[in-house]
Symmetry: C2
Subunit: 108 residues, 2 copies
DNA sequence: ACAAGTACCGACTAAATAGTCAGGTACTCA
DNA sequence: TGAGTACCTGACTATTTAGTCGGTACTTGT
């Protein structure tokens, strides 16, 4: 595997994937249970949600906390590294929001 | 096609794709000819480079200027919108650079 | 005449990513 | 006993994205 050629390259690798930006956005508002994420990230399937969460977990962006209860409860939250990532993503989120209409119109 | 759910979602759609971050990074240093980009974005094939450039062009992120000469010369540069995007990407680039080692190690 | 340089196009194939669906655990409540 | 909840897993398929490779047009240099 080739080394990253720039910071942007590295960052893109971490947030790449169809659902990660939206998962990160949801988690930026606080910890979320699996079921909550499934609702907030509308359209995602359970399988994809798990897959992307596992990837973010292995990158140490999100933390997974299992509560031993019945029915089970698993809570996902941003790690300190995840928090710094979200800070770095904030301007991009703002940019997207500011140019939303323009971007919607040039989509297809 | 569903509307974007947040700014991050919209932005990710624009910079999504294996090569766009690196193309944007190269163009952030000034206008580039097609052949120059091919060298700077090492590993990219001509087909992919064109494809991604066309997409960025249709999103009004990059501008394509054809010089009527022989041999042909085509220069790509960031539009004003592209410049604002790159400003928004700067913190992400920095984040990636700062955590490069950590990210490299958790890659596979 | 013909190779070389520059910027492409398009058919085909391969790899990566995402979606569907059936199932599984491990308890609680009626 | 059977239904319900929450959180998954894995096999299989579909879709999306990327890569290979051959070809084009035009003109300069040999």
């Amino acid at each position: 595997m080739k080394p990253y050629t720039c910071g942007l390259d590295a960052a893109a690798d971490v947030i790449g994937g169809k659902w990660k930006p939206r998962i990160l956005w949801a988690l930026s508002h606080g910890p979320r249970r699996f079921g909550e994420l499934r609702k907030e990230v509308s359209g995602v399937t359970e399988k994809m949600l798990i897959q992307q969460l596992r990837e973010l977990e292995s990158r140490r962006i999100v933390h997974r906390e299992v509560y031993r209860q019945v029915p089970p409860k698993v809570e996902y939250s941003l790690t300190p590294l995840g928090e710094t990532l979200n800070v770095a993503l904030a301007p991009l989120d703002l940019w997207g929001a500011e140019h939303m209409e323009e971007l919607e119109s040039s989509r297809c």
